[in-house]
Symmetry: C2
Subunit: 280 residues, 2 copies
């Protein structure tokens, strides 16, 4: 079992659609579990409840900051159909003295069936986008490099992320001024990326706004991921970009390509940014 499968494992509870889980402390940025990882955890519970195996489109709204530790996931089956099914999931954690359940994340998702890569040979009917050009893996910057805060996120021990140095100026105190980041990504344990791993992959790079010198906390309000194909084994390439930062909010788009050069996921999130410009 891969480390990601283990970290997103859910155990069926007493009623259908109810699961217990443990939010791992090994997929965090600082003290906070990564938002893509949490989406993967909710996605696992949806996968085990709905009649279709693969996430096609998954939206999460982040409601309160989660912490590593016990959690429950409650899945509501919204609709089941022949080719797709839709479900909603709530990720909850006990808080306070009385252990009352507090909702961390609400998810709405449609699942379907993605064909195996080996029978997906026709290629896209239309593609107006190119996989990012990246220097070889060994020439990229290991993301075990500390954040501006000086700390290495535990997430960076669970994934192997190699940033294109051209987009990692922030790490050297020289942000590029372009809200773009790109790099190689794979599970650190050498396991193969699967569709649920893509829910994490789209959110695994540092925030694009670091390259604008905005190195504060950038909490996600909402994240939507489209899984477009099942990845082949090997390195993923991830390109993240932001077009618009205004009124304390920005969107961040990610595209994920597999080792065969296929576009396997697209995502967009809405996040908040503190209007503080770091020196640098």
């Amino acid at each position: 079992m891969s480390a990601y499968a283990e970290a997103t494992a859910v155990t069926p509870g007493s009623r259908p659609g109810f699961f217990t889980a443990t939010i791992s402390d090994r997929w965090s940025i600082g003290s906070r579990p990564n938002g893509g990882y949490l989406l993967g955890l909710a996605g696992r519970a949806l996968q085990q409840t709905l009649p279709h195996e693969h996430p096609l489109t998954v939206t999460g709204h982040y409601l309160s900051p989660p912490e590593p530790g016990p959690a429950t996931v409650e899945v509501e089956t919204v609709r089941t159909g022949r080719s797709v099914s839709t479900g909603s999931a709530r990720l909850l954690q006990p808080v306070g003295e009385d252990g009352a359940a507090k909702e961390r994340l609400r998810v709405l998702a449609t699942f379907g069936t993605l064909v195996p890569p080996e029978v997906d040979s026709a290629g896209p009917l239309y593609l107006d986008l190119a996989a990012p050009e990246l220097p070889p893996v060994q020439e990229c910057l290991s993301a075990e490099v500390p954040l501006p805060s000086g700390e290495t996120p535990t997430l960076m021990h669970s994934v192997d992320l190699r940033l294109d140095p051209a987009t990692a100026g922030w790490a050297l105190g020289r942000p590029s001024g372009q809200a773009r980041m790109r790099g190689w990504l794979r599970p650190a344990d050498g396991s193969d990326p699967d569709p649920l791993f893509l829910l994490l992959a789209v959110d695994a790079l540092p925030p694009t706004v670091f390259e604008l010198g905005l190195t504060g906390w950038a909490p996600t309000v909402e994240l939507t991921v489209h899984v477009r194909a099942r990845p082949v084994p090997g390195w993923l390439r991830v390109a993240v970009s932001t077009r618009h930062v205004a009124s304390g909010q920005f969107e961040e788009d990610a595209e994920v390509w597999d080792a065969a050069g296929r576009l396997v996921a697209q995502s967009r999130q809405l996040a908040r940014v503190a209007p503080v410009v770091a020196p640098g």
Copy 2:
């Protein structure tokens, strides 16, 4: 009251968060109410239930084809906070002899407060995107032009849409081969566009894949809209593009700009396309 406000009006029912509504037949493509219009209807019910007025991010999953006529909207308040609140909405219609409620659309949304345009003078902190260059309104193609089917959608009498002729080759049987479309848009009754109108605006242009010669039905699976600012009165400019058509699915991104040249909404939808190429 604008025609759009009327078409999206909801009447509070017997319990908080329950509303009755009528799905109008004047915002349809063929016999099917436009997906953005339905999102606006659900958005109206959310607006009347949540403590915040403006949609910031709204996701709809389309579950079954709706019809003009009676409907109900049930809103669940997921979380209320100081600056934002989150809710879920179900759009239902009675079907069959027994009038059992069938769910048409499930929505998950976070609302907040957008400042009025006149105090939003700082401009974006970062913008890596340009408003579309369009010919003057009078040189654009009125979208009252019939669809490939020969029919003019009722939607095109409710909005005033003027397509850039460079992106409307499909209407003349000469699709450009580029999955992009752009045009001017405003409510046909001369009313001012508001944040809820933007939920429709992102979905009001013909499908981008028409320009690839794919003129069949392109049903939306999921549509997510980020409202980034309150529009000033006047024409909107809308640019829609698709980057990837594969395995019978495509994404469609829209950007909406107001008459002051401000980016007011971004959207992405996942839709299905029949793998049939029209003669052309």
